[in-house]
């Protein structure tokens, strides 16, 4: 029973990471109707930047917040410079650009930091909280960080004028322009925020899986699954989907199929959701009239 509880809680911890990345994906999807295939690599790259700062002697939280700021700027810049020119191009063109980004970031990380695995510190103590057997401090800490980030995002979109403007811009760009919203900048902002959220995910997962240029590929897959399960246009759904997928991954890995086929599990989840219920649990079902 204890082993089961531990799997569930560990699943929630990784689930929080999937939830964050899935949220980033959904934010960009809502704003642009594009799936950002490079989201994982952006997060990985940001985490490497954090590692550089830590190596230079910065304290953890200073490096953490600096990384968020840099990731934000990087995301916004990528949107304005690289994505903007192909905004209204056919799907395949956009996909190729995103894949190109993925490849560039992955390669740059490998070049600058080499492919040797590095360890990445956790800001949380090594000893388990309250001497518990069920959860490590990092797992608990990661869950808390995820929840704080999600809460802040929710409050931002719900209660701030800028958040309202961003929601408006993604729903109805024409009407948004008519009330004076600079839609282009809202998109850049969305990308920046998504990149920062992805960076949190990267920094929370790196202590567990170790820092390596290919560390986010599998996590990206799970984030895709989470976003699809929750509904690709539903942020809350993405978050729930993330936690669900995290727990499922652990339980299936521990009790059904072993831990060596995790990516195949993600693949099956993705294909399964897309076939059985493409709108996910909470997404809008789009009916196209002929």
């Amino acid at each position: 029973m204890e082993a089961f509880a531990h799997q569930v809680i560990a699943g929630l911890a990784t689930g929080g990471i999937y939830a964050s990345l899935a949220l980033a994906l959904v934010m960009i999807y809502n704003a642009t109707h594009h799936v950002n295939f490079a989201q994982g690599e952006l997060a990985m790259f940001a985490t490497y930047l954090c590692w550089t700062m830590l190596n230079a002697g910065w304290s953890y939280w200073a490096a953490f917040f600096a990384t968020l700021a840099i990731a934000f700027v990087l995301g916004a810049a990528i949107e304005r410079i690289i994505v903007r020119p192909v905004e209204s191009a056919p799907v395949l063109t956009v996909v190729v650009v995103f894949i190109g980004l993925l490849v560039i970031l992955n390669s740059l990380a490998g070049w600058i930091y080499t492919y040797t695995i590095k360890s990445f510190p956790s800001p949380f103590p090594a000893a388990p909280p309250f001497g518990s057997h069920l959860v490590t401090s990092h797992e608990l800490g990661a869950i808390c960080v995820t929840l704080i980030v999600l809460l802040l995002i929710f409050l931002f979109f719900r209660y701030t004028p800028l958040g309202l403007a961003m929601r408006a811009a993604s729903q109805n760009p024409d009407s948004s322009r008519l009330v004076g919203i600079r839609v282009g900048w809202m998109l850049a902002l969305g990308w920046g925020m998504a990149a920062a959220i992805g960076a949190t995910a990267g920094m929370m997962v790196a202590p567990i899986v170790f820092l390596d240029p290919n560390m986010m590929a599998g996590i990206l897959l799970y984030a895709f699954a989470a976003a699809l399960i929750g509904g690709i246009d539903n942020p809350g759904g993405a978050v729930l989907g993330g936690f669900l997928v995290g727990v499922l991954e652990n339980l299936i890995g521990a009790y059904v199929i072993g831990t060596e086929l995790k990516l195949t599990v993600a693949l099956v989840l993705i294909v399964g959701v897309l076939i059985v219920r493409p709108a996910g649990l909470f997404g809008k079902v789009i009916v196209t009239r002929v």
């Binding site: 309202l164 729903q171 109805n172 322009r177 009330v179 004076g180």
Partner: protein, 237 residues
């Protein structure tokens, strides 16, 4: 009275198709002007051209300043509010959020409370349903919301695209009455695009008739109403 909007040789189109072939007209501050014409004449395109939502050639001056080179967002900030055809409601947001967005470009946030009051006084139903998702409002209510959203900008010029479209006659009467009040009480200049020529000519001071992208008749609304061709083609008698 001063000229608020001056348009010279306005040309506009979509892609390879040119829709407006050189419009010339001006609007005096404080007046209500009607833009009439059949379907496809270019009325909606004219309003969109003024807001730079389509590519244009020609000169457009607002309060003496050239705006044909500016972007939609900047034009809005100068005090031009556009109620597009189809209302342009943010359907997934609440009524109140729609109104809040209308005030997005405002600098003087202090006067906002006053404007909410004004809008709710004009359309009490909006106050009642302010927490409701805007997409679930009826057509007439959404039109009220669209106009209110435009008013939240405290515009000097209000552009309205077919406000009567798809609405019951009683509701249309109400909306037109509100427009008269906005113009008289709050000194908002109005440019109104309408297929319902009769109501538009009753409300407006001046009118222009558009046919296939050209202005073919201009004058005071009284004159236009009495014009034989207009009577036969657009007023039905």
């Amino acid at each position: 009275m001063a000229v608020l909007l001056e348009v010279r040789n306005l040309r506009a189109g979509y892609g390879a198709t040119q829709v407006l072939h050189g419009l010339d007209f001006s609007i005096e501050e404080g007046s209500i002007t009607a833009l009439l014409g059949a379907n496809g004449a270019g009325k909606t395109t004219t309003l969109r051209a003024l807001c730079k939502m389509v590519r244009i050639n020609g000169e457009v001056r607002f309060a003496g300043e050239r705006i044909d080179g500016k972007s939609t967002e900047d034009i809005v900030r100068l005090g031009i509010a556009h109620v597009p055809d189809g209302r342009g409601t943010f359907t997934s947001l609440t009524t109140e959020e729609n109104l809040r967005l209308g005030a997005f470009a405002r600098r003087d946030k202090a006067a906002l409370a006053e404007d909410y009051e004004r809008v709710y006084r004009l359309y009490p139903i909006l106050k009642e349903r302010r927490g409701q998702q805007a997409g679930t409002l009826s057509g007439g209510q959404q039109q009220m919301l669209a106009i209110s959203r435009a008013l939240m900008l405290r515009p000097r010029l209000l552009l309205l695209d077919e406000p009567s479209f798809g609405l019951a006659p009683l509701i249309v009467k109400e909306i037109f009455a509100v427009m008269r009040e906005i113009n008289r009480e709050h000194k908002v200049t109005i440019l109104l695009v309408e297929q319902n020529a009769a109501m538009a000519l009753n409300l407006s001071d001046r009118a222009h008739l558009l046919e296939t992208g050209r202005i073919v008749l201009s004058g005071s609304s009284e004159e236009v109403k009495r014009n034989d061709a207009v009577r036969k083609s657009y007023l039905g008698y």
